[in-house]
Symmetry: C2
Subunit: 368 residues, 2 copies
């Protein structure tokens, strides 16, 4: 664990976060969105109750230093969902689930101020649901305590998110060099407000699909592995689009492949009962990976973990398909999209990235 006492943190005020309106104004010329309905709600979750009896007269004043939980409840571990249904909507909604350290902001305005997948797919007439997973963002209220250390870590993520190495962008990367874009990008991050719990997350997303009815789950990174588990839990998940799943690949027990070692760690596969696994063979699934992922071991951990992920994803595709499934794995550079980071949905070429999904949804009859 990092020792905070040993750090001298330099505080620098960013005097003008938005030096002009240009970055958001760019998104203004895409025409009016006709929204039939929009709103937000909590999905799933649990309730904990402290034993005893609450006395509203004795303990009804707010006093953080002397609080009495006796007899009180806490509702937590739900997902927060904001949804919009466009006019003349297609039948199946797209349910977008963010990755590690992120919220639904991932799918909104891009760091350089263009439209994200939220608007792009509303314009393509899909109902759009944006999820903050339990213990994150507007679903921050969890049932377990946590300490947030606020330790500087952004150059680590710059590498893992494959923007570049250290502070240097990769040549040809699909990310704006306007410093305000990187400022906005870093401010997309949000801490965990409780311990990560696979069951908590997937229960909440399953509860969401109980509400939406049949729909298409779109995952990113850490939600990739969670997405397989959610799709096993809820038959309303009729397809999965997975951007850069990093871990959590589930295989039938007895067919679990070897782990994949990489610089900085080991990627392990998980075994689950065949009857659970079989659900994943019944829905179309597509997986996308961006650029800068080597095929051979390299020295940079920020690339290495994705080399391992692609290797494991290929094995996963093959075994799901061997059992009768329909998994496609696309590496964007191999279909002509170069320079993509770990966030293809907000990269400079995100319209082309969206076009690929639209084509696949049409091919699978999921865009009626």
């Amino acid at each position: 664990m990092i020792k905070r006492a040993g750090l001298i943190l330099l505080s620098i005020t960013v005097s003008i976060a938005f030096t002009s309106c240009s970055s958001t104004k760019r998104s203004a010329n895409n025409g009016t969105l006709a929204i039939q309905e929009q709103g937000s709600f909590a999905a799933g979750g649990t309730v904990i109750t402290a034993p005893g009896t609450f006395d509203p007269i004795k303990h009804g004043a707010f006093n953080p230093a002397n609080q009495a939980s006796e007899g009180q409840t806490l509702h937590g571990d739900h997902a927060y969902v904001f949804y919009q249904v466009p006019q003349n909507a297609r039948k199946l909604p797209l349910v977008f689930w963010h990755g590690y350290g992120q919220s639904a902001k991932t799918w909104e305005t891009t760091p350089d101020g263009r439209e994200g997948f939220q608007n792009i797919f509303l314009r393509r007439r899909f109902p759009v649901y944006l999820v903050d997973q339990p213990r994150r963002g507007r679903a921050a209220r969890g049932t377990k305590p946590v300490t947030i250390d606020a330790a500087p870590d952004e150059q680590l993520w710059f590498g893992i998110f494959r923007m570049g190495i250290g502070t240097e962008f990769y040549p040809g990367v699909q990310f704006s060099k306007d410093p305000e874009a990187l400022n906005q990008f870093y401010r997309h991050m949000v801490p965990n407000t409780g311990p990560f719990d696979l069951a908590v997350s997937t229960n909440a997303v399953s509860a969401l699909f109980d509400k939406t009815g049949p729909g298409i789950l779109v995952t990113h990174s850490h939600s990739g592995g969670q997405g397989w588990v959610a799709a096993i839990k809820n038959r309303n998940i009729k397809a999965v689009v997975s951007y850069e799943p990093g871990s959590g690949f589930v295989f039938p027990k007895g067919e679990v492949p070897d782990s994949v070692p990489y610089v900085g760690g080991v990627l392990k596969a998980t075994g689950i009962p065949l009857d659970e696994f079989s659900q994943l063979t019944k829905i179309p699934i597509i997986i996308y990976y961006g650029d800068y992922i080597p095929n051979q071991p390299a020295e940079n951990p920020g690339q290495e973990q994705w080399r391992a992920a692609v290797a494991m994803a290929k094995r996963w595709r093959d075994i799901v398909n061997k059992h009768g499934g329909d998994v496609t794995l696309i590496r964007l550079p191999e279909v002509g999209l170069k320079g993509n980071t770990h966030f293809p949905m907000s990269d400079l070429n995100n319209v082309e990235v969206a076009d690929l999904v639209s084509g696949w949804l049409k091919e699978k009859g999921l865009d009626k």
Copy 2:
């Protein structure tokens, strides 16, 4: 401080959070929203940098147990903002700022599934900006560490939010008795993800108004007092609508009134230089309080702190107006709206509550 080890927490799974779609479907028949532009961004914030040099090869792998912050940055303490501009928009946007323990969810779909102020005022052709203040919700990334204790506290808030006492609703309260409404209401809450800091909050909101240009600030509860400070900082705040400000009333030095004691605490006024205070005399301000606030001392702390707030707010109104200001204070029951909780913007009569604001904005020429 509560000792968690002494608590036996009972975990109850909420198996079906939404038993039917009826609660959100109710909001579907209000007609299509024509949205000219929508998006989200971070406003303001700071950057901290840990001393040293980051080595992307040596420290570029994700390892929470052995992280090295050396040479890395953290962007935090910004606000998160989601905005929508309707077709044929009025000139001045409404910027909505939530209260304690809440996020911008406050202004979205109500706990019982009706449209909140977000949609209501979009339909009335105002550009709508919804803020998550720094260290809250999707702006959770702060520059200071914090521990979240996840202690059950909802019956406390049931009282302070003037829903009722303990678990009993007040007679005639403008809140749905559908248990799902209370479930959703509690799930609006989000913890602080950093220590509260008035300067951090008001700097971020001021940075937002640098971006929006002239606009109207709408505050609730804890953001009430912060809102006065923000309005002093930024001349783009052309008016303030304040729902149930609870504390943080600022007076000219030398004219600070006595504190107001109440069951459970003491409400103190703050002195600031007259030239700062004077800014508050230059913009129209309206304050609203709901029902169940006694005029005389009572035994219930959940009501008592609002008795003190109203008493202090009246003094504040009088002194701002004495200095040439334009402050109106409305107690909703006195103008015919009965049964309002601490959340008039989402109570069952929230359309009537919105009508009052619309009338005031028209009267002040703020709805051109």
